[in-house]
Each structure stands twice: as structure tokens, then as C-alpha cells.
């Protein structure tokens, strides 16, 4: 599972859906954790001081995007 998440994070895994998914810019992200409880499918995690978005769990709902205090999250093609 960890491997899957890591692969998904670097974008090497094909995504089965056509809709966009949330993606984090780790250079901008402050690791504050605000987006975690906003995610309905709980697709966002903090591990080893790094934000990880499970692209396969993301439903593309965008609820995490605008609340990010530094604008580190954006939708990208799946």
C-alpha cells in the first residue's frame, strides 16, 4: 500500500478516471495538516513530514483546494 501511494505520488501510476485529482506542490506546502479533515474520502495523509495524496482515493471534489492557506493544492489531470 505504501508503495502504491508512493508511486501514485510521483505520478507513475495510471489513473482509471478521467476527472481531475488534487495534487500538492511540496515546495509550497507548510505541512499544517488543514486539508486532511476536509477530504471526504480521507485521501490525504501526512507521513514522514510530507503531504501525500492518494490519487486513487481522491474523488476530485476540490474541497481541499481553496482552504489551503498558502495555495499549495491544485487540480491536475488524473
Amino acid at each position: 500500500m505504501t508503495l502504491l501511494i508512493r508511486l501514485a505520488k510521483v505520478g507513475r501510476m495510471p489513473h482509471p478516471r478521467a476527472s481531475d485529482v488534487a495534487s500538492v506542490d511540496l515546495l509550497v506546502c507548510d505541512r499544517c495538516g488543514l486539508c486532511l479533515p476536509l477530504c471526504p474520502p480521507e485521501a490525504i495523509h501526512l507521513a514522514l513530514d510530507e503531504l501525500v495524496i492518494d490519487r486513487h482515493a481522491c474523488t476530485g471534489c476540490r474541497k481541499c483546494i481553496a482552504p489551503c492557506p498558502v495555495g499549495a493544492l491544485a487540480m491536475v489531470p488524473a
Binding site: C32, G33, L36, P37, L38, A47, A66, P67, V70
Partner: protein, 393 residues
Amino acid sequence: MPDCDVLVVGAGPAGSIAAWEAKRAAPELDVVLLERDRVVGLPVRCAEGVGDAGLREFVDPDGAPWVARRITRIIFVAPDDTEVPVAEGRTVAWILDRTRFDAFLAAGAAAAGVEVRVATEAAGMERDPDGRWHVRVRGPGGNEETLCARLVIGADGVEAMVGRWAGLDTRVPARDMESCAQYVVQNVQFDPDAVYLQFGDRIAPGGYAWLFPKGVGIANVGLGIVALRADGRNAREYLDAWIARRYPGSATVGATVGGVIVNPTIKQTYGDGVLIAGDAAHMVNPLSGAGIVNAMKGGRLAGRAAAAAIRVGDTGARRLSAYHQAWMELLGDDHRTYYRIKQALDGLDDGFYNALARTVNGIPEAKRSLRKVFAHALVKHPQLIPVAARYFV
């Protein structure tokens, strides 16, 4: 596999007090307190303000090294910059040095016999058939091990992973998430005995902007917004605009961001062998966004409930539900009321706040207690009647 009785995840105010109280209530228990970061109290994701009365329930702030500033005045600032000082004539609040304060609480827990482990992150947990939680943790250097605990207290802040792992719903609707940005700012002019709170749809939609003094000429300057009400800018962009307008020429020497959950307490703060406390359980006052003392109060209840449950050998959800009930009676039910008031206030616009500021400034400053301000406001501004009504409904 190393065993402990109580494992507390997160060494903020909720976690340290919970661990401390559990050990104090039952000294024979093995209590372990985990902190993910390398230093307890860092990074500071907090405006560091705390009410005097609540703080004194736990610790004495007079002359304490973890205090940055004593506060005797609140200055409300209307959207049009009209300042409304509310002179309380006594100590109303303290601005803490959270780095030192959190370390002080964790050290207190350690002195009571709690094992504190820093740079150690909980990564997941499963419950075995005997009712023990097996918590996977990553220590310094990434070493993984499993800790076995009879009861886990989740004090892991907005992330609230422990609650998630235990199957509790700790999610937050977007309308109840304050996105906050804060700078530590120097070279600014302000009354160092006062906290400043400014409201306004263009300044901090759905929240407010604050200046909390840390000393003469140095302050925490920040704001919280509800993104759903914002104009497309993020919290940091709102803050940059506010500081440029209100504190030109200031020097920013620190920056932080974070979320404040202004949602009432989660429906269930307990599970089999699990208690959730502090921000993780949404124990923040939904009207003010204040969370430190609430976290300590929730942590105290959790620590005591944990110790009592282990002593009688029953850590089942049914027994632990008494913790939830105790919290709701102490503050949780009040927070539901504050939440309704917040919703009602959200409907009022900048024009209302500007007019309210003028009304209040008509009251002589010496007589301007919060109670009096509220009474006058209610008479002069009938828009407030539905807000006040929420208090009783």
C-alpha cells in the same frame, strides 16, 4: 512487543495534560506520550492567546517563563478601522510563548513519570482480539516498531488520525474550517497591553484578523478566513494585504499557517480503547477560535477517564462514553450554542459592524465592559436580536 497502559499521541496541551492526569490519577500505569516533531512546542501553529481564568485552572502565569505578555485590554476594530477599546481594568488574557509552554507541560508530565518520546510519529493502529491497540510508530531515523496499548488517547490536532484509525468521524465541512496565516512582525506601533481584533468581509471573510503582542514592538499578526466566503485569495494573500495596509514598514521575522476547526465537538469522542481530545475532537470554541484551554480541559477529562477505565479493567466504548458526556456538560453543549451564534453573525455585513463600533464608542470607556457593550448593541441594533436569540434556542 513493548506494552504500555495509556499511549497518548501528540504532545500539545491536550496530550501533555491527558498523559499527566492519567499518571497522576493512577501512578501505577505506564503512560507514554508521543510527539512527532523533534521538539515539543515547535512549530508554533497558534496565535498564542489564552484567557486568564481558564489558564489559572491549570497553571500560574504570574512570572512564568512561558508567558510573553500580560493583556489588560481588548481593542475591537471595525471594518472601517474605527477602534473600540474595551477596558476591562484587570488581566483578561495572556500571550504565551507556546514553544516554552508546551515544553513546560510535557516536562511536567515527564516529572510525574510519563515517558515522553519526541521525533516519534504514530503511523497506524489495529485492535487485537484481546482489546489492545497495536500502534505502529516511526522513531528517530525512521525506525519502525509497534507499541501495544490498552488505551490510546488521540491528541493529534486537526489531522485527527487516531480518531480516523479508530473509525470515528473527525472530518470537517469546509464552511467550518478557518484557514489561518500568521506572521511574527516587528517594528510596529501598538498598545502592548492590548489584543486587536478586526472584522470585515474584505479583511477576513468568515473570521477575523488579529494582533497579539509578544512584547513591545513585536507581535503575532494573523487572520483566519473561511475559504468558501473568500474572493479567490488564500489566507496568506489576505494577510499580506492587511499588513501592507495597516502595518506598513513592519518587518516579518516569522511565518506560519494552520487550520482552526470552528465546528462543534465531534459526535463521538470515544471508541473501544480510544479517547479523542483537543483540536482532534473539535473542542475549539467555534465563536472565538480559542483552543488551548479547551484542549487542556478535554485532556484532563480524557486522562482521568483513561486511568479510571484501566483500573477497573474495562476500556470498552460503553464505559468511555462517560468521557464524552462529561465534556459535553463542561463545554461541548456551550460550543453548540456558540456555533449557532457564529452562524447568525455571519449574516451581518461590514456596514453593521461599522455602525456597531460607533454605538459602542458612545459608551464612556471606563464603563465599557463586554456585558455593557452587548446590552447597548442589542438595543441600538435590532439586527442583533436574532443573534441573541440563538443563545437561548
